[in-house]
């Protein structure tokens, strides 16, 4: 009988995920083939679209920024044993926080505004997660329901605020007054022309910093220790003298704050520079996929966010260059990537283990 052999580390962290992505692309390629297009060409278009030009790469980074924040929001709550389905609404409210700070101070230099945007977005995102957190901590209301409901409440609420309160007279689209250019977070192209017209702005560095901070918070801080303890064993958490209710609330607040940062990228960024109806556009939900695919670890979340950013951007290029490949197909391909790299990640593990088992036993003999 063959015994299972643990795989070498490089196989586990590099080869296996790579094979899984490949598998997803093969299935996606079959779909492309089904509409009579050349899958290799499609792949080429996607890759060059996402990474081949400064502009394309800039877009990829722009989407990646959103997905990092939303993914980290889900990941953080996950470590404390909670499933935050609400980043979509939290990010939406974050936009309100950004614009409420931006408008009164409109015209101030961006370098001063940037940190304020971060505070505003984070504070309002946090607020929108605080209530579900408190309800979970004090009343035991399941976080999954409350965050779903808070997403549903955010839509009409923001609709009202944007179209009835913030929209300046004479403007037809549902959006707030614009933030002045000087106050907006500059795009990357203002520093590196390479990025062309892409909307990616300095917020990407905040996102990268947040990844590092997330690692520190979860694995290097006392708070993170308490949070992980709670996620694994609430009874032992109380035993350790950690207040469970406090942990739940604080964790949700930070999680919501992370989601709220999505708004900094949009509302405070040079490209949008205003609060627009429905600006989140599903990034919060993509965050769920990103968090789980990235195994709630910042490295994983970062990679998954880039993968999804690239899929979004490359997919758009693909839709552009191959009109018969629609945006629905790109969603389908994303589904394949989630499925194979996320849910079925172990499908190739067993054959691989056999393979390596054979090698190592051959060596032993």
């Amino acid at each position: 009988m063959s015994t299972r052999v643990p795989l070498p580390l490089w196989v586990d962290v590099a080869l296996l995920p790579l094979l899984n992505v490949l598998l997803a692309f093969i299935i996606g390629g079959l779909i492309v083939l089904a509409v009579g297009q050349n899958p290799l060409e499609a792949l080429n278009i996607m890759l060059t679209g996402a990474f081949g030009s400064g502009r394309g790469f800039g877009y990829t980074l722009y989407y990646t920024t959103d997905f990092i924040f939303a993914g980290l929001a889900v990941s953080l709550a996950y470590h404390a044993g909670m499933f935050n389905i609400g980043p979509e609404g939290q990010a939406y409210l974050g936009g309100l926080g950004v614009i409420l700070i931006a408008l009164p101070l409109n015209g101030m230099h961006w370098a001063l505004m940037f940190p304020l945007f971060i505070i505003g977005g984070a504070a309002f995102g946090a607020l929108w997660a605080l209530i579900p957190g408190v309800l979970q901590a004090k009343r035991g209301s399941h976080i999954v329901i409350t965050t779903i409901l808070f997403n549903l409440i955010a839509t009409p609420l923001m609709n009202f605020i944007i179209s009835r309160i913030l929209r300046p007279a004479g403007v037809q689209s549902d959006e707030s007054a614009p933030i002045e250019m000087i106050s907006r977070i500059p795009r990357l192209r203002d520093f590196i022309p390479f990025f062309g017209s892409a909307p990616a702005n300095l917020t990407i560095f905040v996102a990268i910093g947040t990844l590092v901070g997330f690692y520190w918070l979860v694995w290097r801080s006392k708070f993170g220790y308490a949070m992980r303890a709670l996620g694994h064993n609430p009874t032992a958490t109380r035993y350790a003298g950690i207040s469970i209710s406090k942990m739940i609330i604080i964790t949700m607040v930070i999680s919501g704050a992370l989601a709220g940062l999505v708004a900094v990228n949009h509302t405070g960024g040079a490209a949008e520079g205003r609060l627009i109806l429905n600006f989140v556009g599903g990034a919060g939900f993509v965050g769920i996929a990103v968090a789980f695919m990235g195994r709630a670890h910042p490295v994983g979340v970062g990679l998954a966010a880039i993968l999804f950013g690239a899929l979004t951007q490359g997919g758009l290029e693909l839709a552009f260059s191959m009109p018969s490949v629609t945006r629905d197909m790109i969603v389908t391909i994303q589904a394949m990537v989630i499925l194979f790299t996320g849910a079925m990640g172990d499908m190739l593990r067993i054959p691989l283990e056999r393979l390596f088992g054979r090698f190592s036993s051959a060596e032993a003999k």
């Binding site: 009343r139 999954v144 409350t146 409901l149 789980f292 969603v331 589904a335 849910a343």
Partner: protein, 333 residues
Amino acid sequence: MQFFFDMVLILDSTIRLSIPLLLACLAGLYSERAGIVDIGLEGKLLGSAFGAAAATAVTGNPWIGLLAGVGVAMAFSGIHGLASINLRGNQTISGVALNFLAAGLTAFLGQSWFGRGGETPPLTGPQRLSPIQWPYAAELGAFADNADNNPLLRIPAEIYSELISGQNILTYFAFLAVPLTAFVLFRTRFGLRLRAVGENPKALDTAGISVTLLRYQALVITAVLVGIGGTYLSIAQSAGFTPDMSNGRGYIALAALIFAKWRPWPALLVCLLFGFLDALQFRLQGINFAVVGQVPVQFIQMLPYILTIILLAGFIGRAIAPKASGIPYVKER
């Protein structure tokens, strides 16, 4: 009296609005009771709505549509099972993948088959699953509408003709599914094992019963129920498929399931409550209230969700999920 008649109509609307939720909720109940978290209900609803509408559009027969709707849900459950039972993958992410898959694939296939931007051709007449009129419903309806008749007789006549009669066959099925589920779950051998596998799969395994088989059985029932729910959306409630037509109902069903603490009768109540608040909300839009005057419509639209939260926090308390749900069963061999 008028209030009463309005109420009957609102309840009628309540029923129609809650049926897809109820079917999805019961579907989720089987899978989560068996220890498999199903956040993919949304995708399964959407996929089966498409399957049903597409098959009906092609064959003209809604029963074939129903089969196709269930078939699609079955296929989705199959993927979910393969990922989360055999491959011990993360159940949540598998569900998320299904939601993406449904959103993408339905629109894509719809477009390439029917060329209407993902919509199926509109279904007419016998292509739809239509309401069933009970005997004398029309007569009693007319009786109830006549203000000269005895109010005490008009009330039951109205209830019979509006609420009991004239519902869709899938509606009757959904209501039947509640006692049936309660029976299966608490009165049969299968139900006992199902509940056990969601609480402690090891107990079942050591009792010599296959955890894998049982979980697949649960997923099959899930597929049947949610498949009927999707079918209801596209060929009973509406006359065709539009992309993204499930519009979050799967998530709400999930919320209802937790709200109901994974029990069938409370699930019925919660789904009816959600439906009722929604139906009421339609009526309240644009009404002038005595004290506050006209409330912005957005706040009326939030009302059902806010009320739900208040109910949840105020009265329902902690919901404890089946212990093993979400955890893949790993047995060292």
